[in-house]
Symmetry: C2
Subunit: 123 residues, 2 copies
DNA sequence: GCCACCTGTCAAAGATTCCTGACACATATC
DNA sequence: GATATGTGTCAGGAATCTTTGACAGGTGGC
């Protein structure tokens, strides 16, 4: 059977992926996780960076679907969060970009019909 | 003849490309230029954005090698700068990213032994 | 000269992102 | 209980990016 046709990522998706990967730290994180899955604290020590910071970067990567974290319980009962790299694949060409650009959800329009939590309306 | 082998972009290059494309405006600019080459002012009107801003975005894209601008002289003598999309192609996978991550020039650590162009050493 | 169009740059404001140092909460070991 | 390891979050400042308005040219046509 033939190969799957070139998947056309949505603008927002591609945007998240590109901005997530367009950062040196995040690139290194992916690289480190490629060698072997790891949990947050250990990874932080490995690439010398604060936990809060790493945590934030990992969230950005996970939100883009590039890595996946799972909260596991080690044999000794400690809860540990392991991260793995997702086998992603994106083709970056003018056509793909142009196509994606057409489906971008302009986030600037603060809301409109989008009902917020109905809480900060206090202002 | 066979296809060219998977090109391995350097970390800095990939970084510039990804961060350049990881912006809604810049994506739309590429999309607009895909339909037809155009000059700055016209493009600005086309996608409703200020010239100074467009100018800056175009520079970022050009610095990443995604578009190319040429200053041309129209028949009536007016100087106009046309921009074209460069036929780029990048493959985004964990392996590529990991490989690129290994060749990132950390711009924060002022230098070290890394031999630079031997020019800004002046300081 | 004056107007219309093009090019480019600058400074200052606005918005985001990035980063750090607490803090709170779990479990296992000493 | 005290210590060490793991988890996560928050507030605030630092650093960057984004955006705008004003300015300084250039050419051609009325």
């Amino acid at each position: 059977m033939p190969e799957a046709p070139p998947p056309a990522p949505t603008g927002d998706e591609l945007l998240k992926v590109l901005s997530a990967l367009g950062n040196p730290h995040r690139m290194r994180i992916v690289a480190a996780l490629m060698e072997s899955r790891n949990y947050v604290s250990a990874l932080a020590r490995l690439i010398g960076m604060g936990r809060p910071l790493l945590h934030m970067h990992l969230q950005r990567l996970e939100a883009a679907g590039l890595v996946a974290g799972t909260l596991e319980v080690a044999e000794d009962g400690k809860t540990v969060k392991y991260y793995d790299v997702t086998p992603f694949f994106y083709e970056l060409t003018p056509r793909v970009v142009a196509q994606a650009a057409a489906t971008i959800t302009d986030t600037t329009e603060t809301d409109r019909t989008a009902g917020r939590s109905a809480k900060e309306e206090a202002k």
